[in-house]
């Protein structure tokens, strides 16, 4: 579960970085850029608190 959350978080961060680059390259419009960044922000702030700064649980011990 932790790995999935981390993948979503990093994808959100990558989207935050990618959206303005695509806008600069003329590949997407400004409104699409803003929408992508908003969705990425939501994804980042929903998933990241669930793993960042939390201790890793050794799942083999949780029975």
């Amino acid at each position: 579960m932790r790995l999935i959350l981390q993948i979503v978080s990093w994808a959100a961060l990558a989207t935050t970085a990618l959206a303005p680059v695509l806008f600069v390259a003329g590949q997407i419009t400004l409104s699409h850029t803003k929408l992508m960044m908003l969705l990425a922000a939501i994804a980042w702030f929903v998933t990241t608190p669930l793993w960042m700064g939390r201790p890793k649980v050794d799942e083999t011990l949780v029975i």
Binding site: A12, L38, A41
Partner: protein, 495 residues
């Protein structure tokens, strides 16, 4: 919890940091990157443009200035921090005595409140995107009418240029309410939810850094579109930067003209209190090695280079689109570039940095009145910050305020440096106040006062824009004075 962590035992406030509590290099990289990518960066970048900065002066001046700042941390602050491993306050108390450190705490606490006020101002500008009220202008002083004599008095002290200051004709209730709401929320959270905010700040930091970069990229593209410029090479980009983005020329009315030297010294000294002022002894004492001071480069080059440049682009675009709109309002600027995500970034950047600043102000005040409850003192500091945030002059004159803040606290750094390295070599005794049980080392007190008087005299004589430079000679004046006065002080107290 951070509140608990700040107790004497856990924070090693009056003892050396033990080996087991030392931190690795990465801890400092993350901490400095987060701390220096703050809400105020969104004010500082635009203010460079308002100061009529040119492309070379900005890009190269920031590069050199930030490098000098990193070197100051690495070569001056970190070596003392990792050898003494004491907080600034305890080290200063051993040198200066408790009485003088109390004065230092008071000055520190007041400046923290004003700085937090500027951060509250930044967050409150975001409220204006949703709520309809008149935003503050670049040359506003207060959100309500002031007697003409006040403007003239502020002008006399060099704090404003009365000629260019806008006279507000009615009370700006909307702005006051917005700042009050943001400030009150910040103060309450600083009291009860500091640990929560620290966690939000940690989570938001990587995202905010990318958002700052996004501001710059989006603004750049919009600028290119607005000017129909053709950028096909690095030479084209440089030509575009020098003719459109940072054109140089005259500053906005009421603003100081910034040259290469202004930019360089500002970048170097905007954290003067922390490096040559030795405030960061309290942080770097946890570093395993003194070279960990280079970790400050993460904050300098992400926050004080990329973020400032990106924020300056937002403002340059606004001026290009409407030269009459000189307001520096991070909320609307960020919203225009990156929509709701940009607005969230402004609110979080202001909020997450205002909170620890209010918390630190509370700690500084509590050191003066140890019997007062931390919650009450922190809340009072939050209220002072809220009231300060209502006055746009603090945020709109942030460049000057930051210079003043560093200048005020810098002499203590020179005293600590001289006491640590030079005093023992001159057969005098370090930590003399502790040695003789003195509450007020007048050699240090007089050094502090005389240095400030000297710096003020230099600014009064050479012009008020020299406030960005006088920290350098001031530091040497303070070190020299402290050594000379210590001869007298120690001879008298030993006799």
């Amino acid at each position: 919890m951070a509140d608990d962590a700040a107790t004497v035992g856990d924070e090693f406030e009056r003892e050396r940091v033990p080996e087991r509590a030392l931190l690795g290099f990465k801890s400092f990289v993350g901490m400095y990157a987060g701390e220096h990518t703050a809400g105020t960066e969104l004010m500082i970048g635009p203010l460079f443009v308002a100061a009529g900065v040119s492309a070379f002066d900005l890009l190269v001046g920031l590069l050199v200035g930030n490098l000098l700042a990193v070197l100051s941390w690495t070569l001056l602050t970190a070596p003392i921090a990792t050898r003494a491993r004491l907080t600034l306050y305890y080290q200063a108390e051993r040198i200066c005595g408790r009485g003088l450190v109390t004065l230092y705490n008071l000055a520190n606490g007041v400046m923290f409140c004003f700085l937090a006020g500027a951060m509250v101002t930044v967050s409150a500008t975001a409220v204006g995107v949703w709520v309809d009220f008149a935003p503050p202008q670049l040359n506003d002083v207060a959100p309500f009418p002031l007697p003409e004599g006040v403007y003239q008095s502020l002008d006399t002290f060099g704090l404003i240029e009365a000629e260019h200051t806008r006279r507000v004709e009615s009370v700006n209730v909307g702005w006051i309410a917005a700042v009050f709401a943001v400030g009150l929320l910040t103060a309450v959270v600083a009291v009860y939810g500091y640990a929560f905010v620290a966690r939000v700040a940690n989570i938001a930091a990587p995202w905010m850094t990318l958002m700052f970069i996004a501001f710059g990229l989006v603004a750049m593209r919009q600028f290119i579109d607005a000017t129909n410029a053709q950028i096909g090479s690095a030479a084209d980009l440089w030509h575009f930067a020098t003719t459109h983005l940072w054109k140089g020329g005259e500053p906005q009315p009421g603003q100081v003209k910034f040259t290469f030297w202004h930019v360089m010294f500002f970048a170097w000294f905007c954290n003067m209190a922390m490096h040559i002022g030795m405030s960061d002894l309290s942080i770097l004492r946890f570093a395993r090695k003194s070279w960990y001071g280079v970790a400050t480069a993460s904050g300098m080059f992400l926050g004080h280079y990329i973020a400032w440049i990106a924020a300056s682009l937002l403002y340059a675009l606004q001026l290009h689109n409407d030269p009459a709109n000189t307001s520096v309002l991070p909320g609307p600027l960020a919203y225009q570039a990156c929509g709701v995500a940009g607005l969230v970034c402004v609110i979080l950047a202001g909020w997450t940095t205002a909170n620890p600043t209010i918390y630190r102000a509370g700690l500084a005040f509590q050191a003066i009145v140890p019997s007062a409850s931390r919650a009450k003192v922190t809340f009072a500091a939050g209220l002072i910050a809220t009231v300060a945030g209502m006055f746009p002059a603090i945020a709109m004159k942030l460049l000057d305020f930051v210079a003043l803040y560093g200048l005020l606290l810098m002499p203590m750094g020179a005293i600590i440096f001289a006491d640590f390295y030079l005093i023992p070599k001159l057969r005098l005794r370090s930590d003399f106040a502790e040695f003789v049980g003195d509450r007020f080392n007048w050699a240090a007190g007089l050094t502090w006062l005389a240095t400030l008087v000297t710096c003020c005299a230099l600014v009064a004589y050479f012009g008020k824009d020299k406030i960005f430079f006088v920290g350098l000679p001031g530091w040497f004046v303070a070190a020299g004075l402290y050594i000379a006065l210590s001869y007298l002080y120690q001879r008298r107290n030993r006799a």
